[in-house]
């Protein structure tokens, strides 16, 4: 369980996150929604150790993880994707995935020089896994392509793919759906569900696509102006006046003629 208690993050005088308190239950898929600029990404960055909070605490399974560096959190099983894709542009798509798993013995120079056989074995296993993930994401034809040459949506898929390379405990997804084709997004949703059910991943996802959120998340947290506005099931949220006013709106006013 991830517990965020009274986290503040200020930029100069601006309070991007202003006292956010929330819980993400182990094994759940929790949605995080809210208007643009509500502080969702900033909160993610605080949890994932990219930004240090102005004040407040974040704990994971009771352990204080506030301010730990991202690589440390990764080793504790906390993964995240980026809203704006962060691919390794000059490496191939497949290498982008193969680099992910932690504690590869080949990442030590000593082994790279003197235990080459062991590395070869590990690499073969990694390669197989990476190819499976790519196939799943329908971009296996691009495995030798430089990741920098992918289309916007393909990069998003690659972001997601990285989280599938390891056994994570908690995965934070920052708008993986934005820019991804809806049909494919359906498949991605299936994958998330499967990872959640079969492997027990906990997910927390920022998303603006209510259908997608509705399909996956038991709990939805709504943020606005740096705080949690409300929390509930998708139906409760959709019915909440404040949420409609601040975030959902009432649909298109002008229809095309």
């Amino acid at each position: 369980m991830i517990v965020v208690s009274d986290v503040h993050k200020h930029f100069g005088g601006f309070r991007a996150v202003d006292g956010a308190t929330l819980e993400i239950a182990t094994g759940s898929i929790t949605g995080l929604v809210g208007p643009n600029g509500a502080g969702k990404t900033t909160l993610f960055n605080v949890i994932a150790g990219v930004l240090s909070p102005t004040s407040g605490r974040v704990t994971m399974d009771g352990e204080d993880i506030t301010g730990l560096p991202p690589h440390d959190l990764f080793h504790r099983g906390l993964l995240r994707t980026f809203q704006i894709a962060h691919e390794f542009a000059s490496m191939t798509v497949r290498e982008n995935l193969m680099m992910v798993p932690a504690r590869q013995s080949g990442e030590t120079l000593w082994n790279a020089w003197f235990h080459r056989a062991r590395i070869r074995q590990e690499e073969a296993a990694l390669l197989k896994k990476a190819d499976e993930v790519l196939e799943f994401l329908t971009i296996d034809h691009l495995k030798e392509e430089r990741a920098g040459n992918l289309s916007g949506g393909q990069k998003k898929l690659l972001e997601l793919g990285r989280t599938m390379m390891v056994d994570a405990k908690v995965v934070f997804l920052d708008e993986v759906g934005a820019g991804v084709n809806r049909t494919l997004l359906g498949t991605v949703g299936d994958a998330i569900l499967r990872l959640n059910r079969e492997r027990g991943y906990t997910f927390c996802m920022i998303e603006h696509d209510m259908d997608f959120i509705g399909r996956l998340c038991e709990t939805v947290i709504v943020m606005a102006e740096g705080r949690v506005l409300t929390q509930g099931t998708i139906d409760e949220i959709k019915a909440d006046e404040r949420v409609i006013e601040a975030y959902l709106g009432t649909g298109l006013k002008n229809k095309a003629s």
């Binding site: 930029f11 929604v33 809210g34 208007p35 643009n36 600029g37 509500a38 502080g39 990404t41 809203q83 704006i84 390794f88 542009a89 000059s90 971009i139 691009l142 430089r146 920098g148 040459n149 992918l150 289309s151 916007g152 949506g153 393909q154 998003k156 898929l157 708008e175 934005a178 820019g179 991804v180 084709n181 809806r182 049909t183 494919l184 997004l185 359906g186 603006h208 696509d209 209510m210 601040a246 975030y247 959902l248 709106g249 009432t250 649909g251 298109l252 006013k253 002008n254 229809k255 095309a256």
Partner: protein, 275 residues
């Protein structure tokens, strides 16, 4: 760009910094003849475009997209289908190996992007579409760079459209949230008072309320006689307001029709619109 090798590893895609000139340009030199002039053709059309990045393989194959004044044309398709590429091609940021781009019947295939801006075309790219180090207001001013008249009116309209921007007008655009940046980007394009507005996934990452608002505005803008050409992954909403819809698959036109037609087509819905 993959072929040139001058790049930074990990450099962002700067394929649009390619004014004029290029390796393969349609015209007398390459031996491809401009297509015959056709007065019934749409106001802006990229016709039978074929081409790719740098010396790499073709990404577009005989792809055609077009739009008429006051019309909204929407391009949908799977990731990597070549939608963004097609937009860039229409805006002249890509070297075509075949086909032509015509505005008001005139062949503009050889024009540089900034000349196209001068002809009344505006484009909001999918990524890095704002001046991060400049304030929101300066971003808008830069949108109006080629205009010599008073821009205050237009700016007020943009602020009306996206009220949050007015609050943040003195803030560096790079400090905005994802959705806010998107709004700045569209605002900047509107500042040119274009005749054609090209948008590459303008609603990616914006909240539902802003998306609706944005679509509303796009309709309004279209009603003033401006042509709108946009790529969308929020395809259902987009096609609802579209006069024309194009489905691209692997660089070619797979389906073309009115927005309603496409929405009604089972195949299209299942394969591209998420059921």
């Amino acid at each position: 760009m993959s072929g040139s090798g001058y790049g930074d590893r990990g450099n962002k895609d700067r394929s649009i910094t390619r004014p004029g000139g290029g390796t393969m340009r349609v015209g007398t030199a390459s031996g491809v003849h401009p297509l015959p002039r056709d007065d019934t053709a749409p106001f802006l059309i990229g016709e039978r475009m074929t081409g790719g990045y740098g010396k790499g393989a073709d990404i577009l194959h005989d792809c055609t997209i077009g739009v008429d004044p006051g019309e909204i044309a929407v391009i949908v398709g799977p990731n990597g289908a070549g939608k963004s590429t097609a937009m860039k091609a229409v805006f002249g940021m890509l070297d075509l190996r075949g086909g032509a781009v015509r505005l008001e019947g005139e062949d503009i295939t050889a024009l540089s992007p900034q000349d196209r801006v001068a002809r009344g075309m505006a484009f909001v790219p999918q990524t890095s579409n704002i001046f991060t180090s400049m304030t929101v207001e300066e971003n808008l001013e830069m949108g109006a760079f080629l205009r010599r008249d008073d821009i205050r009116g237009t700016m007020a309209q943009v602020y009306d459209l996206f009220p949050i921007l007015k609050d943040k007008r003195r803030q560096a655009a790079g400090e905005l949230s994802g959705g806010q940046r998107q709004q700045v980007a569209v605002g900047r394009a509107l500042m040119t008072q274009p005749r054609v507005l090209m948008l590459d996934e303008p609603t990616a990452g914006v909240s539902p309320i802003v998306m609706d608002e944005l679509f509303d505005r796009i309709i309004e803008v279209a009603r003033t006689g401006i042509s709108i050409l946009m790529v969308e992954q929020n395809a259902r909403q987009a096609l609802e307001i579209a006069d024309k819809g194009y489905v691209l698959v692997q660089g070619s036109n797979a389906f073309t029709g009115t927005g309603a037609d496409l929405l009604a087509d089972d195949d299209v819905r299942r394969s591209f619109l998420g059921g």
